[in-house]
Symmetry: C2
Amino acid sequence: MSLVIVGTIAFDAIKTPFGETDKIVGGAATFAGLAASFLYDNVKLISVIGEDFGDNIAILNRRHIDTTGVEVIRGGQTFFWSGKYHNDMNSRDTLATDLNVLADFDPKIPVSYQDCDYLLLGNLTPQVQIDTLDRLHNKPKLVVLDTMNYWMNTALDDLKTVLKRVDVLTINDAEARQLSREYSLVKAADRILEMGPRYLIIKKGEHGALLFGEGQVFSAPALPLAEVFDPTGAGDAFAGGFAGYLARVKTVNFSNMKNAVIYGSAMASFCVERFGTQRLETLTYEEITLRIQQFIALSRFEISE
Amino acid sequence: MSLVIVGTIAFDAIKTPFGETDKIVGGAATFAGLAASFLYDNVKLISVIGEDFGDNIAILNRRHIDTTGVEVIRGGQTFFWSGKYHNDMNSRDTLATDLNVLADFDPKIPVSYQDCDYLLLGNLTPQVQIDTLDRLHNKPKLVVLDTMNYWMNTALDDLKTVLKRVDVLTINDAEARQLSREYSLVKAADRILEMGPRYLIIKKGEHGALLFGEGQVFSAPALPLAEVFDPTGAGDAFAGGFAGYLARVKTVNFSNMKNAVIYGSAMASFCVERFGTQRLETLTYEEITLRIQQFIALSRFEISE
């Protein structure tokens, strides 16, 4: 039994109002894997890196993440992304996207990964997400898919194909509106759930997240933060924390899905406190427990009448 | 013991993507008073209207709202506002603002209103809010102030003066940022609480509301709605529901403030379902109870470990 995460591993160079970084480790699979590793002890990654990635893989292995499925391309360069966040931290400009070895990514599934019962398809080309599903011998118990507006603009047909095969979709509010062509998020959720997923999570950044499914809706708060240091990877950390929690509790129902959204939100709230993976690398389980208590205090009210 | 509400009573003409109205009854005191009247049975209004308002005052009296303090100006015309909402319902253009009798509004407090222990200063010129406080013989137990960016732009000094004398301020997120000159809402709340109020409510429309005070923070969800028919008065209905609940439970503490935010949010969610005051006029207490249950279901999660 394992949680398999497919996604990018990258070098990022980031500018925020608080400073800037040289090449640091990033990528959807990295953030999701680190986040998941605090909640579940059998996390396995599928990705591709260049030889230049070198010892950085230790960031993952130190968290006991299985990287057998991370292919290293001899003489290749790792995917590189560079971006600059504006003062409001809600918008950013991409300064560079060098696909490098990601351009030919052909996901290979080690035999030892065929025990996968929870699968997180991180934000990636929909075709790679489809290939991964095709190459698993058994349909996982739960498939979670993360995607973004870029794939809606460039690979909508493939995206719609893979949506038919997943259980949970996570996107942000603007993407939900784009995908559904509905402004109301309630109507958007209805349309998107008709496209395949049984559950939809709409991420709203500083406004929290909405979970739709089983004819119910859940509104998760975001932790109000004095400072967002670097938003990079927050959505991936959310997805990793979400999938990691579900893999641990094993039962998929709306009640556990709500808790998983809270755990995902907690992991995202840590992620943005430092540049890149810094905060997730040094996190402790005790800190997570305390933060979950903060989420409870933040949203709990008692009306008795 | 009473809840006194000071604010505008108006005629509104509204265009939304769903239709448009001729002159219908509106105004901050109207929406707030109607909302409060479902939660507390001794609601008294202070406002000014023209002779043209006529029998419309019955909309308030039918809800047993005391309108002794609503001055009728002989031959005067009632304040008129006309606006058009855009497709997203989050932005609007003001088409007309005819102050009419509101231009010379000098709030008069009937002797029978001097039992006021809860005071809601609805969105109005800060000078009128100050005059009202000056003319009450006793300081109320709780003073709630609603305001908007217009007064920050045109009467900031007066607004800062009245802020020193209130317990609760309700504004939206853009206004909180403008007033505090801080982007982070956590920092904005710190700055604003230094200006006088003990509690701050930041209204975020479809994203819910944040309550700050006593070193704590509470995040209230908004009810996800398939359709917002007419947003006019939602903020006023929120303030009225909030103050009405607190007047009823009588004890001001963070726990009751949280519940009051939920009741305010529920009243706002009804308000937007129809044009103007239509929904609040026909509402029943049973419907409110059911909606509160919806808010509980929407935000409740159980993490046990």
